[in-house]
């Protein structure tokens, strides 16, 4: 009833091929953006912004990065955590060597370092596929993690082997370091994530995205159609790692404020992989939904028993949260193996015909 495109006529090819062809979708996206840009900073306290929203956006960006590679191009990767680390360490080195340069530029630039590293580790993808490729990227994960702790130059010979985020200003406003306000950091992360999501969406609707999807669906057929596999796959690795690198730099500079190499371990890679599997492979929306389910839901669950007045020990709550999340993952995957994004699509379909589903 409310969600129906009847009467919305397309009069040009451009409007017919738009990312959001339906008016209600455009309104929905606008409302979400308005909430993200206006409502949350106005109403949210430090906890919501610092411990919920910023991490959620950072993880979403990393999930988009992995989704470009795994969901759209079909190349399984277990090196996400390490590629995020490359971004973080690159950004740290860049800003300590050239402290005068705008930090946002370094955050974006660090993505290029991650892209280069990602492309190198993507080289085996031409010869090996599926699980075997996953093992090859696992090598990247372990090798890079080893580098983060064994090459003291990377963390400027810090005794604790940690990278500490220096304070940086932008137009007189402190944007990194402990004295930066949560709102400032939130706006920067949000802007970068929105712009990069928009870019990813355009990429996916264009020639490159179609090339990737052709490779994913059947690489021999894609080759016969004239798609060169090596450049296509390497491009996917590079762009995916670029996204992961930027999200790693954002993670350390605008969320943690400092990190040791353990942050970028194999668990991080698995977490991001779970996010895209549950959110939906090959869907940008899925990246956000997956990040929300895996990251935000445990935080909410942790608050439920104390709010209901059930006296439970912190550790017990942790165990229950663990089990609940596990059960939810199983439930969602049984209900819809293609992920939350597909669930949303089905819901949308039902909404269109509601209340007369004939």
């Amino acid at each position: 009833m409310f969600y129906r495109e009847a009467g919305q006529f397309k009069t040009s090819y451009a409007s017919d091929q738009a990312v959001f062809p339906i008016l209600q979708d455009r309104i929905g996206v606008f409302i979400i953006l308005a909430i993200a840009f206006v409502v949350i900073p106005l109403t949210g306290n430090d906890f919501i912004i610092n411990a919920v929203m910023i991490p959620f956006l950072v993880f979403s960006l990393a999930a988009i990065g992995l989704n470009l590679l795994t969901g759209y191009t079909g190349q399984l990767s277990l090196g996400t955590g390490a590629f995020m680390g490359v971004g973080a360490y690159a950004c740290y080195k860049l800003t300590t060597i050239y402290p005068g340069v705008n930090i946002i530029i370094w955050v974006i630039a660090s993505g290029f370092f991650a892209a280069a590293v990602g492309a190198v580790f993507g080289l085996p993808s031409l010869r090996i596929k599926g699980f075997y490729l996953a093992i090859a990227t696992l090598a990247a994960q372990f090798f890079l993690e080893w580098c983060f702790i064994r090459i003291p130059w990377l963390y400027n010979y810090n005794v604790s082997a940690a990278i500490e985020v220096p304070q940086r200003e932008l137009f007189g406003i402190i944007v990194t370091g402990p004295r930066a306000s949560a709102e400032t950091r939130y706006y920067i992360v949000l802007s970068i994530v929105v712009v990069m999501t928009w870019m990813a969406s355009n990429l996916m609707h264009g020639r490159i995205g179609r090339m990737w999807m052709a490779v994913r669906d059947m690489d021999i057929a894609a080759e016969l159609m004239g798609i060169r596999l090596l450049p296509t796959k390497l491009l996917a690795f590079a762009i995916s790692s670029f996204y992961c690198g930027v999200s790693g730099a954002l993670m350390v500079f605008l969320w943690y404020g400092g990190a040791e190499s353990a942050v970028f371990n194999i668990n991080q890679s698995f977490t991001i992989l779970f996010m895209i599997i549950i959110g939906g492979l090959g869907s940008l929306l899925g990246s956000f939904l997956g990040a929300a389910l895996i990251y935000i839901l445990p935080i909410i669950l942790r608050f439920v028993p104390p709010q209901l007045g059930i006296p439970l020990h912190a550790a017990t709550i942790e165990h229950i949260t663990f089990m609940t999340i596990g059960a939810l993952i199983v439930f969602f995957l049984i209900a819809e193996p293609a992920g939350l994004a597909r669930l949303w699509q089905i819901g949308k379909q039902k909404l269109r015909v509601w209340p007369f589903p004939y």
Partner: protein, 443 residues
């Protein structure tokens, strides 16, 4: 799934979420958050400490009605030794006026050090964390008494020197150092290398990454090849019992294997079985339950079922370590009440209380802990550590036994390194604030 169900689900989730975030827990009394970990791969080390910290503060509530007549509102936040969750805990507790935060993880401590001065919450990282944070001029909000890792390393060297008949006897010999591959494990390395240079011995490093800490066969194979005279360990969690087991399997002489104070829990010794007999570890707190205050904990907390500790694990070494930590917290709160004249103290007052922390032998006795720990007399505005002594304990196959007197650190070697590291930290972190906090005289 039906659209309606989806809607109802989303609506419910939204309701819960708003209810959760809208209401703020009303804190009464002095809020003392404890970052603990009873889950995850480090839980075997974390559980006894969490119990010890929790139970002493509960005992004060039960026996004395809190501190200075104000109840302590003790709340645990589970971190699982995970830095992410630790930072999350910090964000969720900072709005509730915490008196002091105990992170109990070097990784988490490193993350929250820069936040402490901004949020005006002192951090007590008791004998862990960033060694350089002992320099009070640079880190007014961070405290790590009674001693640092670098002091610990110098004490171990002093002990080895005593056994060898002088450190210069080590010339040409090999000392092995096995450590958890993390900031914590790496921290004493510069000092050990300095010692090696000064006394002409070789250091062999064996690093153990978190994922292989329950295996370690490669490291101990290398130990067997290198045949070091002494082994020193900086381990945590599941790494400790495994290392002790592997050392025994490889026929390493156990009384030449020394751990830092975090590698000496009862579970660590037990994990090695009978073969672990002879293993040495530094210690900073008294052993056993033979102290009036520990008996009070038993009477007021454990016997009343208000503790999570298993009966047979009560007053084990790490439990007492947790109690020690809480004694420092309680003393700091007491000092803060005296200095500020307020009953319900918050972070800013407790920072002053920690800076005037002064526990003499007589005071330890008064608190019900005669000869429990070395007096803490060295903490002041410039020195947030005190560089106190520790003593050596040995595993006799069933329990820890004290085998040495107080060993004092080689301060003249440690302090310059500390100062240098602190300066470096502050200069590298542009915009590191200058100390503006005034200094109180110790009462």
């Amino acid at each position: 799934m039906k659209a309606r169900q989806l809607f109802v689900g989303i609506a419910c989730a939204g309701l819960v979420a708003t209810a959760v975030f809208a209401s703020k827990a009303e804190a009464q009394g002095i809020y003392v958050p404890l970052l603990t970990y009873r889950t995850g791969p480090y839980a075997n080390s974390g559980i006894p400490i969490a119990n010890g910290m929790h139970d002493y503060l509960t005992m004060l509530n039960e026996r004395d009605g809190g501190i200075g007549g104000v109840k302590l509102n003790v709340e645990e936040c589970e971190t699982g030794y995970d830095t992410k969750k630790g930072v999350e805990c910090w964000e969720s507790l900072k709005g509730k006026n915490p008196a002091v935060v105990n992170p109990y993880s070097t990784g988490i401590t490193l993350q929250i050090i820069p936040k402490a001065a901004v949020d005006k919450i002192p951090i007590l990282s008791m004998a862990y964390g960033l060694s350089a944070s002992a320099v009070g001029e640079k880190f007014p909000w961070i405290f790590n008494p009674p001693t640092t890792y670098w002091d610990g390393m110098s004490m171990i060297m002093r002990y080895i020197g005593g056994k060898e008949g002088g450190l210069d006897k080590l010339k040409g010999k090999t000392v092995g150092f096995i450590f958890l591959e993390s900031g914590y494990g790496r921290e004493p390395l510069p000092l050990l290398q300095q010692f090696a240079k000064d006394y002409g011995f070789t250091v062999k490093e064996y690093s153990v990454a978190g994922k292989e800490m329950q295996d370690q066969s490669a490291q101990w194979l290398a130990v067997r090849r290198d045949r070091p005279e002494w082994m020193i360990m900086w381990g945590w969690g599941a790494m400790n019992p495994t290392a002790i087991k592997r050392a025994a399997e490889n026929g390493f002489t156990m009384d030449r294997f020394i751990g830092i104070w975090w590698s000496g829990s009862d579970d660590d010794g037990r994990g090695g079985g009978a073969a672990a007999k002879g293993y040495l570890a530094l210690n900073i707190n008294g052993l056993g339950s033979n102290y009036p205050a520990i008996q009070d904990i038993k009477k007021y907390v454990v016997d009343k079922g208000k503790s999570q500790v298993e009966k047979d694990k009560f007053a084990e070494n790490f439990y007492n370590r947790g109690v020690y930590n809480s004694v420092l917290v309680a003393e700091a709160i007491r000092n803060a009440q005296k200095l500020s004249g307020k009953k319900v103290v918050v972070g800013e007052d407790v920072r002053r209380g920690l800076e005037t922390l002064h526990i003499t032998d007589a005071r330890w006795k008064e608190l019900g802990f005669p000869n429990f720990a070395a007096p803490i007399t060295g903490v002041n505005c410039t020195d947030h550590n005190g560089h106190g002594p520790a003593y050596m304990t040995q595993w006799d196959g069933a329990k820890w036994v004290k085998v040495s007197d107080w060993i004092h650190p080689i301060k003249e070697k440690v302090r310059p390194l500390l100062q240098e590291a602190a300066d470096e930290y502050a200069t590298k972190t542009t915009g590191w604030p200058k100390r503006t906090e005034a200094c109180d005289k110790a009462s």
